[in-house]
């Protein structure tokens, strides 16, 4: 193994440590309260993870939160990005989740039709 190979291993392995070191650029929070789960939040969460994995994105973490009181809009997803307003999405489907990853997280354009709130 050469030094170059070590560097490659480090880059690949470092992604696995993102959750622990907190070095994330984007944080996706999926509401996983009882009503969120009933509305399909688990599939949404799985879709986020799958899409992020497929695109091999680093510095993005997906986590979950409890009830937010927006039962009619569940599943609710918040996207927190460093230095940008927080975008809250409602009635998110697995397909919408994949679009949020592609359009919002990768390209920086929030998916307007699902946005229910923008917080500074």
């Amino acid at each position: 193994m050469k030094l170059e190979d070590l560097r490659k291993i480090r880059e690949r392995a470092a992604k696995e440590l993102t959750l622990r070191t907190g070095k994330a650029r984007v944080k996706v929070i999926v509401g996983m309260g009882t009503s969120g789960i009933a509305a399909g939040a688990r599939d949404v969460l799985a879709a986020f993870l799958d899409e992020i994995g497929k695109r091999d994105l680093s510095e993005v973490i997906v986590t979950q939160s409890g009830e937010r009181g927006l039962a009619s809009a569940e599943p609710v997803v918040e996207v927190h990005e460093e230095g940008k307003p927080t975008v809250v999405y409602g009635n998110v489907t697995p397909e919408a989740a994949r679009r949020i990853v592609a359009e919002h997280i990768v390209n920086g354009n929030p998916v307007a039709e699902y946005v229910i709130e923008v917080r500074e």
């Binding site: 193994m1 392995a13 696995e16 440590l17 996983m32 309260g33 969460l45 997906v62 979950q64």
Partner: protein, 600 residues
């Protein structure tokens, strides 16, 4: 697929002994049962520090820190936290002073006041997975050294950092490296001293268990700097987990070309062998340790010649402590100036301590040098439990000394501790409260060193038992007026005339307690009184007739049938002639009716 939750479960020896492995199995089972296997990763890490509260685990990215987790808690944690995102409040750390539940690990005072450099990976990565170590910049320092620096530059960098030996004596590491590098000869060795023998010390064990690659990398860098191609890690056989993880780590490093022949294809070769010690305290002394590796009886020899000139197999040998090696990669990566910015002028960097005794948060901590004892014991340690009064702190184990309350604001560095008659030592810190007897403490440590003396030189072999005899006499209440002078005289002789560090430092606990707690010794001798009520020959147990309810529990618990009475008809009475003062009755009495009084 990326994970969304990392569950780090402490796999240090303390948590394992409180069955963290069963907790881990239960968590994994529940994760599978809830179909979260693809989303949640469970990692067993090295020691996280607060050993008293084990089994402990931390859940990222929230950073929720769970304490005293049992396998029965697994379902609730998985359902509530991992699935629904609601941390289980009852298992989070609650600070006693604030009566506040803390949601995040970094807000816990125990962690917030520490500075983790050497222990940065302990409790964060899986010590059995080399890729996690590499992810945390592992082996990057080695790569830098092998491709960008000459051996002389490495020695100079370490010297410039001001790093001093973390085994306790504080010899400048860079100077030691230079001696070995300059020593003539083509065959040289690097030895890691992991023979941690102080009662209550577990710094080296925790680092070897929690981040074995850091020690291996430090040794390999040292080998390159001094020109060695072979190394030994001397570790106690009673540390099976450390040995297991070291074996896994050396095998993995070898498999990736980070240890062994032609490391990182640079032409440099270095390999490490493990040597298990049988647990003799004297083998922590470098010349005795070398003899033990050579397969001889673990006995020290006079120095000079120093190991740097003539060590293992008569060859120039670099011998450093586990924690010293643990510092190396950080100095190479961040530079000597960065290292000097931590700690004090004469003692740069951090120090790892094993906090134990009468302190609320016992465990493994790392602080910058120069932190005061008060901050260590009351800030990070959380103070003394049960509202008791702080009495003294012993640093440096059986070779160290006892420091009383008036010196609590002393900064922790090599010179300040030495000025108080204690030593830094390898990092054992034992806190004592008003219930500890200083005569008994000195006796305990002397009993230890006397029995661990290798018997080679007269001052240590004969002097220590002679001192022990006097201490035993004093704690029996049979002390003589001139005993303290005699004790001091003997102590000074043993200190000056002993061959190795064991004998030279063994009198320290006696001398320091005599210095700060002389009146306690005098009370034992003149009044036959032990104020802490520890020396059994000087106390008697007494049942308060007013408080006794005749519940019969003490009578049943007494191992020598010294208590008599009829159930329901108080008071019960202790026969002082038969009583062996074991204290069992006092422990079982539900009415706190049993008191310990002075015998005279």
């Amino acid at each position: 697929m990326p994970k969304r939750i990392d569950v780090l479960i402490c796999g240090g020896a303390a948590c394992l002994s409180s069955h963290s492995d069963e907790v881990r199995a239960a968590i994994v089972r529940e994760i599978e049962a809830h179909g979260l296997g693809k989303e949640v990763r469970v990692v067993e890490t090295g020691c996280m520090g607060p050993c008293e509260l084990g089994p402990v685990m931390v859940v990222y990215p929230d950073g929720a820190f769970y304490i005293r987790v049992s396998p029965q808690d697994a379902r609730e944690i998985v359902e509530e936290h991992f699935l629904k995102g609601r941390p289980v409040q009852r298992l989070l750390w609650e600070t006693p002073e604030a009566r506040r539940i803390i949601e995040e690990r970094k807000q816990v005072p125990f962690f917030a006041k520490q500075k983790k450099v050497v222990l940065a990976n302990c409790g964060l990565i899986d010590p059995e997975n080399i890729e996690e170590y590499i992810a945390a910049d592992g082996y990057t320092a080695l790569g830098k050294v092998l491709t960008e620096m000459s051996p002389q530059e490495v020695v100079e960098e370490i010297a410039a950092s001001g790093l001093r030996g973390r085994g306790g004596a504080g010899f400048p590491t860079g100077r030691k490296w230079k001696f070995v590098a300059d020593a003539p000869g083509s065959v040289k060795y690097v030895v890691c001293n992991g023979d941690e023998g102080d009662p209550g010390a577990f710094m080296d064990r925790s680092l070897l268990e929690g981040d074995p690659h850091a020690v291996i990398e430090g040794m390999t860098i040292a080998a390159y700097a001094v020109g060695a191609s072979r190394g030994y890690i001397y570790v106690r056989a009673e540390y099976p987990l450390a040995i297991k993880r070291l074996k896994i780590a050396t095998t993995a490093a070898r498999g990736m070309g980070l240890l062994g022949e032609d490391i990182l294809e640079t032409g440099f070769s270095f390999d490490i062998e493990l040597r298990m010690g049988a647990g003799a305290f004297v083998c922590g002394e470098e010349t005795a340790l070398i003899a033990s590796i050579e397969g001889k009886r673990g006995q020290p020899r006079p120095r000079p010649p120093y190991p740097a000139v003539q060590g293992l197999f008569e060859r120039p040998t670099l011998i450093n402590n586990v924690e010293t090696f643990g510092n190396i990669r950080h100095i190479i990566l961040n530079g000597a100036d960065w290292f000097r910015s931590i700690g004090t002028e004469a003692s740069p960097g951090t120090k790892v301590f094993a906090l134990s005794g009468k302190v609320i948060n016992t465990g493994l901590v790392e602080v910058p040098m120069g932190t005061t004892l008060r901050e260590l014991i009351f800030g990070i340690g959380g103070g003394i439990p049960d509202g008791k009064e702080f009495k003294a702190v012993q640093t440096g184990g059986p070779s160290g000394g006892c420091i009383p309350a008036e010196h609590l604001d002393t900064p922790i560095d090599y010179e300040s501790l030495q000025a108080l008659g204690a030593i830094m030592g390898s990092g054992g810190v034992i806190v004592m409260d008003e219930d500890n007897c200083m005569v008994n403490l000195a006796r305990f440590f002397l009993e230890f060193t006397a029995s661990e003396s290798c018997g080679q030189c007269v001052p240590c072999r004969v002097g220590l038992p002679a001192m022990l005899e006097i201490l035993e006499r004093i704690s029996r209440g049979a002390g003589r007026p001139d005993d303290l002078d005699r004790l001091e005289q003997l102590a000074e002789t043993v200190q000056r005339a002993s061959l190795c560090g064991l004998g030279q430092t063994a009198p320290n606990p006696v001398l320091s307690t005599l210095r700060y707690f002389r009146e306690e010794y005098e009370e034992h001798i003149r009044e036959g009184r032990c104020r802490a009520k520890v020396c059994t020959a000087l106390v008697r147990y007494w049942i308060d007739p007013e408080a006794c309810r005749g519940c019969d529990q003490c009578r049943r618990a007494c191992p020598v049938e010294a208590i008599s009475g009829t159930p329901g008809k108080p008071p019960y009475v202790i026969d002082e002639g038969m009583c062996v003062r074991c204290g069992t009755c006092r422990e079982v009495c539900p009415f706190s009716a049993i008191e310990i009084l002075d015998r005279r």
